[in-house]
Amino acid sequence: MAAGVATWLPFARAAAVGWLPLAKKTMPKPPVDNSSRSDEILYVNVSGVRFQTWKNTLDRYPETLLGSSEKEFFYNEDTQEYFFDRDPEMFRHILNFYRTGKLHYPRNECIQAFDEELAFYGIVPEIIGDCCMEEYRDRKKENQERLAEDTEANEASDAPLPPHSTSRERLWRAFENPHTSTMALVFYYVTGFFIAVSVIANVVETVPCRPPKGSVKDLPCGEKYQLAFFCMDTACVLIFTFEYLMRLFAAPSRCKFMRSVMSVIDVVAIMPYYIGLVMPENEDVSGAFVTLRVFRVFRIFKFSRHSQGLRILGYTLKSCASELGFLLFSLTMAIIIFATVMFYAEKGTKGSTFTSIPASFWYTIVTMTTLGYGDMVPNTIAGKIFGSICSLSGVLVIALPVPVIVSNFSRIYHQNQRADKMRAQQKVRLARIRMAKKGTTNAFLQYKEDRDRDSDSTALCVKNRSAFEHQHHHLLHCLEKTTNHEFTDEMTYSELCMTESVGFRTSRSTSLSSQQGAQNNSTGCCPRRARRRAAMRLANSTVSVSRGSVQELDMLHVKTTSIPPQTRSSLNAQADDLKLNCGEQDFTAAIISIPTPPANTPDESLPPSPAPIPGILRNTRATAYTHDTVKISSL
């Protein structure tokens, strides 16, 4: 968690006094603070430049070099200062981080040098403040790209293959990077050539050639040299099919490949040929077949594998789609309006070409784009007036959005890039915050486990936990005691939820006892920590959620003791007396019953000693004032 709030910890702990009168259980002892309370000034000498700062300032971030004991390695006894043989200019920024809690990236420094300094001082770059984060990331990415380009250029020239790649991987690599091997390059150029041939053939076959001898009509070349064109088409399609199948075979993820745009184009380019083969020479069907041949022109898109520019254009159109869509929409609106008006204006005239509103669409479009073919002209005065308004507004409607789109495109393009960056940063930031929170929680849960395990020994401070963490954990512990609930992690919580929902809804306690073993009708409470977890699960499955005025068995509770030593002995003493049948199933069902006002006055029903007295159980309010471990019985 942000150790910047370390200064507020004393305040948070002091405010915990507010919980004390409400606490259900006794508070744990505070951690012993061995560190000297007084603050001192430390001297840090970085290559001759002397910095001075309070020790507390450096202690704010205990996971860094300067905040932890790692700096002792750099302590110089003779001069009584910490000496670092590093860049003093950079150190200024590092030290400011401790002071203000925000890390800034100096723009005039090399990004790599800065990164190295951060790594040395144990500071993660992710905590760079928002003000400098974008700059930092831009520079870093630029640097990485430049390095990557250099390495790629080096690699591309000699192109060593990874040693253990399968033939499939090699094939895929050959397809994706044609420059890797000569074979791939040859294949690349051959397919390119055939795409060009195919497109040209498609174009040429419609050109009228000289008619064959004996006929007057001009024939398109396609029909005159039908066989030649057919052979050429077959050859191209064969090559394309072969290429597609090879790519499909080599693709690391076939489904993904089949869904990609390029493969769709490939399929669309070769399908008409096969459909044409399959289809019979039928007059009706061949009309439809002819339409299919149009799709052959899609082969030209296969060039986009060969051309970087086409790819970029496609991408930019895609990213500009909303703007284009809006343009289209507004145009459609204008067209409809004007077409309607023109139609009704020209309705009366004889021999008018404006036969219907859809027919007027053509006129509107031609006029608005200032083409003016002249195949449809208005004759009435009203029509002419509206026609002129149409052409004037056309200039506006068309001419205005185009530069807007161009600038939009440029803006959107850059903005998209920045938005992606920010989204990624936001995700990272949120993830970091979540991780920090989880880290704190986990640290606390870990501390509890350790404490439970070594509660006998006083080795609570065996782990490297800073004073801050000690105190923070103590604070959380106090909160647990106040509310008599414990912090758990997500996993355990979801388990609890599940088991509770399937738990028996009985309000009798007998079910419990029968579960726990008949012989355990003891009145003992023998908390066994090792069995706690397993016992918990067992217990929870039988948690009775009894509603009603008297809630007897609210929950099952085996509390391991975190009692301060003085009461621990008393617990042991008591427990010995009551150690009846603490056998293997020495579970202790602790009932916390919180009934509606019992007959007894509060004071009386508070048993000062922890000794459970059978019989009273139903109404015993297990308050925590007496003890940590709450016992019960009467099972």
């Binding site: 942000a2 259900k24 508070m27 603050d39 929170k437 609930h485 006002p597």
Partner: protein, 204 residues
């Protein structure tokens, strides 16, 4: 009282209170009013000023800071009540004097004073009586800090039950409210509470 330095910057037709700076009273005065030593006050102020350069804490910042200590739950409601308890002059911000006076009571005060402070915290509308509704609000705020993932699972009626327990104990004449005398009496008779009052004394 502290000296408020307000700089007005005329921005077009608006008067903007661009920076409110609050300078606390002198060290001697604070030393006299609180039970902290000079050095302790220095340390406290340095930390305070670092986090809040303007010299005052507003409620939002207060909530943020307090929430960082309780990552699993939602500490904002309790922080709100705490803020009101610290902001003794109810001007919407906690200055260094408020802060240090509060800390002085909590860390160095007599048990009576601490109990007084706690009573003041629970008494949301500061009318001298703690009603069940007020207590319920406080209790819910505390349980909110625990968050969702607790063992045993927190139920809806847990805070309410806790309030009932509290009132059982504290409300001697069963009139539905707890007065300051009832509260202090009852707490003083409870040795656990008494013992725990000394828990946080060595915090600073």
């Amino acid at each position: 009282c502290g000296v408020y330095l307000c700089t007005f910057s005329g921005v077009e037709d608006e008067l903007e209170l661009s920076a409110v700076r609050h300078r606390p009273e002198g060290l001697e005065q604070l030393e006299a009013q609180t039970r902290f030593s000079r050095k302790e006050l220095q340390i406290l102020y340095r930390g305070f000023k670092n986090e809040c350069p303007s010299g005052v804490v507003n409620e939002e910042t207060f909530k943020d800071i307090y929430s960082q200590f309780f990552p699993q739950g939602d500490a904002s409601t309790y922080a709100h009540f705490l803020f009101n308890a610290f902001d003794t002059d109810h001007n919407g911000s906690v200055s260094f004097e408020d802060f240090v006076m509060g800390l002085s009571i909590l860390l160095r005060g007599t048990v009576q004073e601490k109990l007084n402070w706690a009573f003041n915290l629970y008494d949301i509308n500061k009318d001298g009586y703690i009603t069940k509704e007020e207590m319920l609000d406080i209790m819910k705020a505390i349980y909110d800090m625990m968050g969702k993932c607790t063992y045993p699972v927190l139920k809806e009626e847990t805070p309410r039950q806790h309030v009932e327990v509290f009132f059982q104990k504290m409300d001697k004449n069963k009139d539905g409210v707890v007065t300051i005398d009832e509260f202090i009496d009852c707490c003083q008779n409870d040795e656990n509470i008494m013992r725990s009052m000394h828990l946080f004394e060595n915090v600073l």
